[in-house]
């Protein structure tokens, strides 16, 4: 019993820095993606933000940015999925909500 508790404690202790590492790595990809998107290199940005979501699937900002890039590329199905994932992770984020509302307006036009 004591050994089991000890193992759990060790695992929890080890997992926390791992998660923090994943977020740091993902954050680097997101930052790089933003810098290239600002220069108009959207394909490279998509690659970076996809990497970020693979490294840390719980990173809402990465999903949000990916959705914007998909929207810019005209892939509206993927954009919707990415926005919905971002909102699932951070339902109260007003900026993601605003992006999603603007996206929906355009998407509705195509399906009208």
């Amino acid at each position: 019993m004591r050994i089991a508790a000890l193992i759990i404690a060790v695992l929890a202790f080890a997992a926390a820095p791992l998660a923090a590492d994943a977020r740091d790595d993902a954050k680097k990809q997101v930052e790089f993606g933003i810098s290239v998107a600002q220069r108009g290199l959207w394909r490279e940005a998509i690659y970076r933000w996809e990497r970020a979501t693979q490294i840390d699937p719980t990173y809402a900002a990465a999903h949000n940015n990916l959705a914007i890039a998909y929207e810019h590329e005209g892939d509206l199905m993927k954009a919707r999925a990415a926005y919905e994932k971002a909102l699932e992770l951070e339902p109260g984020n007003a900026l993601i909500k605003q992006n999603y509302e603007l996206f929906k307006e355009i998407n509705d036009r195509t399906t009208r």
């Binding site: 954050k27 940015n65 810019h72 005209g74 605003q98 195509t110």
Partner: protein, 256 residues
């Protein structure tokens, strides 16, 4: 005065802090929208004409045809055919009487003037007349044919509107308060359908209905033609996105 400045500076600082904290970046984007209809098989488009009705102040057939042609000329890759506008209402009537035109058969007689939606029904058969459209297609080297119905009617409605009113309290201080009043409003309604026909087969490829309304204060006099163009302006993006890809500009917020 100083207090007001301090308050202004503090609110600017609050906004800056909020933006800095969220690590967000506004970025312009252009969303490409694919056309609803694959028009790859066509090089030319013929806006043939419309069955139109409603107010007599606007010739819905002529104005819609002219407007769509000019929009397609600048915003579509298809070559726009310049031809006389087809008098489709006459074609449909002749078809009913057994002539070679719009087909039809022995249905109820069509009203000479189209005043409301149900009057249009008597003419709708012309769009399903494959032989007629095939013949038009052959005449113009098998283009994509755009036709449909347009009903532009006056509208009058009493509704509650909100306006701002100045009030002064017992100390003579001025305040602006929203007041809801029941008001008579006049305007126009634009209803109809765009129909896209394959000039090779005469078959309908796609159709989309529309309905737009505009209301003004009853004392405001707006010419019918201005209202017509204002309402058509709202429909044009949707119409164009049927035939050609569009890019919609906007901004989004990237997050870190």
């Amino acid at each position: 005065m100083i207090a007001r400045r301090v308050s202004l500076l503090s609110s600017i600082a609050a906004v800056l802090v909020a933006v800095a904290c969220t690590n967000s970046f506004e970025i312009p984007i252009e969303t490409p929208i694919r056309p609803k209809l694959d028009v790859g098989a066509f090089q030319r488009v013929l806006v043939a004409g419309f069955i139109a009705g409603g107010t007599e102040d606007v010739d819905g057939n002529l104005e819609t045809t002219r407007l769509l042609r000019s929009q397609l000329r600048t915003k579509s890759e298809l070559r726009v055919i310049d031809s006389d506008v087809l008098p489709l209402q006459d074609v449909a009537t002749e078809g009913r009487n057994g002539d070679s035109g719009g087909g039809g058969g022995a249905a109820a007689p069509a009203p000479p003037q189209i005043k409301e939606q149900k009057d249009l029904e008597a003419y709708e058969h012309v769009f399903a007349n494959v032989e007629y459209w095939k013949r038009i297609g052959e005449e113009y080297q098998q283009p994509l044919i755009v036709t449909g119905t347009v009903l532009f009617t006056p509208l009058q409605r009493n509704q509650i509107v909100q306006r701002e009113q100045e009030v002064y309290d017992s100390f003579g201080r001025r305040r602006v308060v929203p007041v809801r009043t029941y008001q008579e409003r006049k305007g126009f309604s634009l209803d109809g359908r765009f129909i896209f026909i394959d000039g090779r087969s005469g078959a309908t490829l796609h159709s989309e209905s529309f309905n737009e309304q505009i209301l003004y204060n009853a004392n405001q006099t707006t010419p019918a033609l201005s209202s017509y163009f204002e309402l058509m302006d709202r429909l044009i993006p949707s119409f164009l996105s049927t035939l050609s890809s569009q890019k919609i500009k906007g901004t989004r917020i990237l997050l870190q």
